[in-house]
């Protein structure tokens, strides 16, 4: 092995043997925002064998304060986060196999991506996706690491199927989301603190040092100087529908998934068609221009300016409607353009 990982292999709990294990592993990262950027960079630098990263959004100026994989040029070009992340990660470590997916981490998509994965790193911004990750983790016996932050507060927990309680044991239902995201903003150190916890757990799991894995949920507030660790083993519920004896994986059932979602704190609604499309941009751009809309784009997306709103359309038929939180209104804008 080259000098590249020498400082990591000198660290006794990893060693040469641990490093070889890390090099042979496949990590799936859900989300390429703040946590996704940090986690993906750590995994790439650590020499994980393969990284798959999926994200549905594109880079905006307001991301640059904390999303470490992106540059001003990515925001100016509205690059999809997954594509921009892949480009940067390949610059960081060309030895790592990187695959990026521009799209929504639906239960269907997660089932497809789970094949051959050794670890799932949660870097999403919503509990709908986390509960689906949790069910996938139990169904295919893949460990996953929860991480989340808002303001100066962050938390993380490692879920090992068959050993620890799962997210559904702890929460029982999807928490109300708007409660924390809209108001608190976020500071970059809170992101990095969550990433540090997630990435350390990831290295333990990839190096197969199971005894070292943390079995408590940690939470901390970097501004108010709080740090707490909550033991969770008592939370394991034999009747849990995700990890108990009579499990049904409730969050993998399509009827439980919404087709339109208000994005946390963004004054934006996402519309997802029931089936993935493959849109030919040149034709639709021509039509929209002839109707008097201002249209901009790149090979991955099309941005359409309207009076009050802006719609960003992706190749798979998904759209982000900016400037509204009204699901019905957003749907009508989508249908006005997409038919």
């Amino acid at each position: 092995m080259s000098e590249r990982y020498s400082r990591q292999t000198l660290f006794a709990p990893i060693g040469k043997e641990g490093q070889e294990k890390i090099r042979s592993k496949h990590v799936l990262i859900i989300g390429a925002g703040a946590l996704g950027s940090g986690n993906a960079e750590m995994m790439a630098r650590s020499g994980a064998g393969k990284l798959t990263i999926i994200d549905r959004d594109y880079v905006e100026e307001s991301n640059l304060q904390r999303q470490q994989l992106f540059a001003e040029s990515d925001a100016a070009e509205k690059m999809p986060k997954a594509a921009a992340a892949e480009k940067r990660l390949k610059q960081i470590n060309s030895e790592v196999e990187i695959r990026s997916i521009i799209g929504d981490a639906t239960p269907e998509k997660l089932e497809e991506l789970a094949d051959g994965v050794d670890l799932i790193l949660d870097s999403t911004d919503n509990f709908e996706t986390r509960m689906a990750i949790n069910d996938i983790s139990q169904k295919y016996t893949i460990p996953w690491i929860y991480g989340a932050c808002v303001g100066s507060f962050g938390m993380s927990m490692t879920i090992l199927p068959g050993k620890t309680p799962c997210m559904n044991c702890l929460l029982k239902k999807i928490p109300i989301q708007g409660m924390t995201c809209d108001t608190g903003g976020i500071i970059a150190p809170a992101v990095q603190m969550v990433v540090a916890h997630q990435a350390a757990e990831a290295l333990k799991i990839l190096a197969e040092d199971w005894e070292a894995v943390r079995t408590a949920m940690v939470s901390f507030d970097l501004w108010r100087n709080q740090y707490t660790s909550m033991k969770v083993s008592k939370a394991k519920d034999e009747g849990c529908l995700s990890c108990g004896k009579d499990r049904t994986y409730p969050y993998l059932q399509a009827e439980n998934m919404m087709k339109s979602t208000i994005l946390c704190g963004r004054d934006t609604v996402q519309i997802r068609p029931p089936k993935e499309l493959l849109i030919e941009f040149t034709e639709i751009a021509r039509q929209l221009k002839s109707l008097g809309y201002q249209v901009k784009g790149n090979p991955y997306l099309l941005s359409v300016e309207m009076e009050e709103q802006r719609m960003v359309l992706f190749k798979d038929g998904r759209a982000l409607i900016h400037g509204t939180k009204d699901l019905a209104h957003a749907k009508s804008i989508y249908q006005r353009i997409m038919g």
Partner: protein, 76 residues
């Protein structure tokens, strides 16, 4: 007596990191209801810990127990 601690936005809503109340003999669910009334909090999806260990809604609080309320956050 019991120390009751609040994390993240709950702390902002309460205005303090912790309050002291005598709630021994009450369940977590009953304490949640009391706090909802006193501080206008919404605690139905908030996790509770007693002495740094996860506690379900039906766990009974003992004298001297420290109770913490930790809201699961979703940002990322």
């Amino acid at each position: 007596m019991n120390k009751i601690m609040f994390f993240a936005h709950l702390r902002d809503r309460v205005g303090e990191e912790s309050v002291t109340r005598d709630v021994s003999g009450k369940t977590i669910a009953e304490l949640k209801q009391l706090l909802e009334e006193e501080f206008g909090l919404k605690l139905d999806s908030v996790m509770a810990a007693v002495n740094e260990e996860f506690a379900s809604d039906d766990e009974v609080i003992q004298n001297g127990d420290a109770v913490a309320f930790i809201p699961p956050v979703s940002g990322g």
